[in-house]
Symmetry: C2
Subunit: 385 residues, 2 copies
C-alpha cells in the first residue's frame, strides 16, 4: 500500500517511455486533506539537480498538495531548460489538480545530464496520465515507478492506534549521508502542523537514512518527503509520532541496504563506548567508507586490521591500543591486539555485524553499509547511471 496506506492520499504510477523497458516511470502522489502539510529534507550536495532547486522553494511554507516523481533521467546539469522542465511539470500538475504550482514538489532520478525536449515531453505526458490514474490504491504502482537500478520496490507501513504512516523508497546506489540518490515519500493521516512534521522528519532521517552509507557517494537528487493529511483526525504525541516515523524510515533504510548495487553483505557497524554520538558516527562512517575493509568482507575475511586503520584516520576520542573489535560475535581484536583466531568467524551469511568498542564513554551509533564486490564494479562501470 505504501503511500496510500494512510487516509487522505491518492497515488498513481504510469509508464511513458522514460525507461526503455516499458516499466512505470512517473509517479504522482496527491494529498486530499483535509490538511496539506509537507516537510522535506534534501541532498546536502552543493551540486543540486533542478527538481531539488524547485522543491526547496516549494517546501518553504510547509504546504504541499502533490508530488510528481520520475525515473529515467535526473534532470541535473541540464541548464535553464531543465529548470523550466521542472517548473512546467509542477504547473501542469497544478492545473490538472486545480491547485497552485507552488504547492507541487518534483523529484527526478536517473542519469545526470538527461533532460532534453524528449525527456520533458515524456514527463509532462506522465503528469497527464498519472493524474488521470490517481486512486487510493495506487501506492504500489507509484513505488514501481520510482525504481532505477533497484531490483525490487521498497514499501513500508506503520500503524499506531488510529493513525498510519506509509512510505515508499528507491535507491540502490550512491547511498550516503546527506541522502544520496534516494527518493522517499512518506504519507500519514496523523494531524501534524508544519513545524511538527519538519521536526519529526529531521529526527527520523538523522538516525536512519543519514546512517546508511552504502558506497560513500552523495547524489545530486536526493529528497525525503513527508506529507500529512490529518484525515485520521488525531494529533499524536510528537515523541510517539517521531518514534513511529523512525521505525518506518529504519525499515525502508534496511530495504535500501538489502538491495544495494552488487552487494553480497549487509553490514551493520555498531560503535559503542564512544565519548559522544558524533564520534560514534564518525568512526562507523570511516569504516563503512574504507574500500579495503569492504573488499575484505566480500572475501569473507575478518580483517580487523583494516577496521583499526580506518578508525585511525578519524579525530574521534580513542586509544588505538584500547579498542575491541568483534565480527559476527567473535572478538578478533582486544585492546588493539589479536584475540580469537580469524578462523572462528563465519562471514558467509549476508547479514554481517561489526561491533567496535572504543572504551572511552557511553555513546553509541550504528552505520549501515555494504561490501565492495565485483558486481558493484560491474554495475557502475558497464552502464552509465
Amino acid at each position: 500500500m505504501s503511500v496510500t496506506a494512510a487516509q487522505g492520499f491518492e497515488a498513481a504510477g504510469v509508464a511513458v517511455g522514460l525507461k526503455s523497458t516499458g516499466a512505470n516511470d512517473v509517479a504522482v502522489v496527491v494529498n486530499r486533506g483535509p490538511k496539506k502539510v509537507g516537510a522535506a529534507v534534501f541532498t546536502t550536495n552543493r551540486a543540486k539537480a533542478n527538481p531539488i532547486l524547485w522543491s526547496e522553494q516549494v517546501i518553504g511554507d510547509g504546504l504541499v498538495e502533490a508530488i510528481v516523481l520520475n525515473s529515467g533521467g535526473a534532470n541535473c546539469f541540464t541548464g535553464s531548460f531543465g529548470f523550466q522542465t521542472t517548473h512546467q511539470t509542477a504547473e501542469k500538475a497544478a492545473e490538472l489538480l486545480g491547485i497552485g504550482a507552488g504547492d507541487v514538489l518534483v523529484c527526478s532520478t536517473g542519469l545526470i545530464g538527461t533532460g532534453d525536449e524528449v525527456f520533458r515531453g515524456k514527463v509532462l505526458d506522465g503528469v497527464d496520465q498519472g493524474i488521470a490514474a490517481l486512486s487510493t490504491d495506487g501506492g504500489e504502482a507509484a513505488s514501481l515507478a520510482i525504481m532505477t537500478t533497484d531490483s525490487r520496490p521498497k514499501r513500508s507501513v506503520v500503524t499506531r492506534g488510529d493513525w498510519t504512516i506509509g512510505g515508499m523508497a528507491k535507491g540502490a546506489g550512491m547511498l550516503a549521508p546527506g541522502l544520496a540518490t534516494m527518493l522517499v515519500v512518506v504519507t500519514t493521516d496523523a494531524d501534524l502542523d508544519a513545524a511538527a512534521a519538519d521536526a519529526a522528519l529531521r529526527e527520523a532521517t538523522r538516525v536512519s537514512f543519514d546512517r546508511l552509507d552504502s558506497d560513500g557517494c552523495m547524489s545530486t537528487n536526493d529528497q525525503v518527503t513527508l506529507l500529512a493529511s490529518g484525515a485520521s483526525g488525531i494529533r499524536p504525541d510528537p515523541v510517539e509520532f517521531t518514534s513511529a516515523l523512525t521505525e518506518l524510515c529504519l525499515d525502508l533504510a534496511a530495504q535500501l541496504q538489502g538491495d544495494a548495487e552488487g552487494a553480497s553483505h549487509d553490514i551493520t557497524i555498531e560503535v559503542v563506548g564512544a565519548a559522544n554520538e558524533d564520534d560514534a558516527v564518525t568512526v562507523g562512517r570511516s569504516v563503512a567508507r574504507n574500500n579495503l575493509f569492504k573488499a575484505a568482507i566480500f572475501g569473507n575475511d575478518p580483517n580487523w586490521g583494516r577496521v583499526l586503520a580506518a578508525i585511525g584516520t578519524t579525530d574521534a576520542a580513542f586509544d588505538p591500543y584500547d579498542v575491541d573489535v568483534s565480527f559476527n560475535g567473535v572478538r578478533v581484536c582486544t585492546a588493539g591486539g589479536p584475540d580469537r583466531p580469524r578462523e572462528e568467524v563465519d562471514l558467509t551469511p549476508r547479514a554481517t555485524h561489526i561491533l567496535i568498542d572504543l572504551r572511552v564513554g557511553d555513546a553509541a551509533a550504528t552505520i549501515l553499509t555494504n561490501d565492495l564486490t565485483h558486481d558493484y564494479v560491474h554495475e557502475n562501470s558497464a552502464y552509465s547511471s
Copy 2:
C-alpha cells in the same frame, strides 16, 4: 641503483623466509657519511605500527646512521611484544654496525597483526644477513626486499652537477594522503643539515606522495625517509635541492600509481581555476575518492555527472553551474551543462587526464589516482593483506 646511487651509502636485500615465495624480504641501508643526517615523514593515521612509534623517536635529533626495512609483516597491533621486536631490530643492527640503536630507523610492511616470535626471529636473522651483505651496489636488492603486492620494484635517480639523489619505494595499495602503505627511502650525497633535509622532504612529499590517492585508504605503517651523507662535499641551494628531490618523488609516485593494485587506468586529475591551492586539492581528492567515478573510468565512460557530484560534496569555492570538465582533452561539460558528446572521448589508454576548471581563481593542483576495477576487488578480497 636506487639508494646506492649517491656516494656514501651501502645497502643490501636478503631473503629470510618472511615471504613464502623465498624472495628478498629484509633490506638494510647504511649511511657511511661523512654526515649522518636524516629526515622522515610518517603516516598521519592515529593507529600507528610499532616501527612508526620507534622511528618517530629516532628521527627527533636529525641523526640517522641506518634503516632496516622488512616486508612480510606490518608489526602493527602486535602489542608490547611487537614494540620490543622493533627495538631489538634496531639494537641488533646498532651492535653489528658499532653505532647507537637510537640512530637506526625501522620500517615494516605486510599484514596488520603479524609480529609473533617467528616473525621476530626472521627479522633479526635478516639484520644479521643484511649487514653482512652490505655493498655500494646493494640498492637493487634492497628495492626488491621491500616489495609486497608490488609487481615490480620502484627506483629513481636524479643527478644535478656533482650531487645525486637516489630512492626506492614500495606500495601498490592503500595509497592515500598521509602516505599510505608506502615505504620510501631516499639517499643523497648532498651536504644538508637536519633542518634543510626536513624542510626539503616535507615540501617534496606535500606535492608528490601526498597527492597520490589510489584508493583513499590510509595505512598504519607509512614512512618516507631521506638520508644525507654529505659525501659529495657540495651544499646545494635549498630551492634547487628541493626541486630535484621533488622531481625524484614525483617519479616514484608515478611508479606507485602505475603499479596500483588491480588498476587499469592511471588517472591524473588536474584542478585549475581554484580560489586557492587547498580548494584545488580538496576538489581533486573528492573526485579521486568517488567510487562511482572510479568505476566509470574502468568502464571507459566519461561520466562527468559523477565528477560534478563529487565536487559538490566539498566546501571549495565554486558555482556548480560554472564548472568545466574535460576528459582526455575533450570538453564534455561547460558551465555545468553538457558540451561535446561523450562518444568523442577515448578512454581506452591507461593514462587518463581529467581537467576541472572551477573558474573562480588562479590556483591549481594535481591529484593522481586509479580506477576501481574487478582486479582491485579481487586482490583485496581474495587474500588478507
